[in-house]
Subunit: 140 residues, 2 copies
């Protein structure tokens, strides 16, 4: 077996979650009427959820129509790249108790703002891979 | 007007495309039955299209069901962050003439592989923003 043909190393859910916890910047993919859209944002992975702060806007409007989302974060370290994808359900926090609790989390919106809305993503699946970077082999 | 409340600077299509051309790593968001998914990948932005090489797999299967995609790339420079999102239609190249032409483009798959499939994304929209990074102001 030629290891060049291995499509990266599949990470365990625990390894993938640990990488998510160590990063702060990701992208949220949403879809309305089968048209995907994707947003860069800061996040916090804790309490087995992804926490996001966002401005009111089209992102939130799309979550109201379709709460199914995919979230991705990636990074580089020691000559390897990693990527983790979480598929799950997003929910806008509405009760004051939840909002007060979420206000205590150290999540920064990417855009400076005085207003924000809290969104939590509850993972249905967490998958991660790690890849060794380098030149590709000759094509067969 | 307080500039802290500005949600970044909207880039022209030309500025956004120039940033895309200068980068090589992005993420492709797809959606099947309203379930978004997102994949990290290398790309090349040229000839007014996004060019991708990928392994046969779920990504391609999803494109066959729904060719509407969103593609995102982002980066940091000089204390500012940028993000560009392309919404468009993906197409798997099938004719040998197209494949031969695409083989000449310097696109590297993220995963080392000897096999690949060429995908082109024709943009319907290109939108970009640039943000000054820094601490957020106090919430009102």
């Amino acid at each position: 077996m030629n290891t060049d043909e291995e499509p990266g190393v599949v990470l365990s859910r625990e390894e993938a979650w640990e990488l998510l916890q160590g990063s702060r910047f990701g992208r949220l993919a949403v879809s309305v009427a089968n048209q995907p859209d994707v947003y860069p944002l800061n996040y916090l992975a804790t309490q087995e959820k992804i926490w996001i702060r966002t401005n009111p806007g089209s992102k939130l409007a799309e979550l109201t129509v379709n709460s199914l989302v995919a979230f991705e974060a990636d990074g580089l370290s020691d000559g390897t790249a990693w990527s983790v994808v979480v598929k799950g359900v997003a929910r806008i926090l509405e009760s004051q108790t939840e909002i007060d609790a979420a206000d205590l989390l150290p999540v920064e919106p990417w855009i400076k703002t005085r207003m924000w809305t809290h969104v939590e993503v509850t993972p249905a699946s967490v998958s991660g891979r790690r890849f060794v970077l380098g030149a590709e082999p000759e094509r067969c």
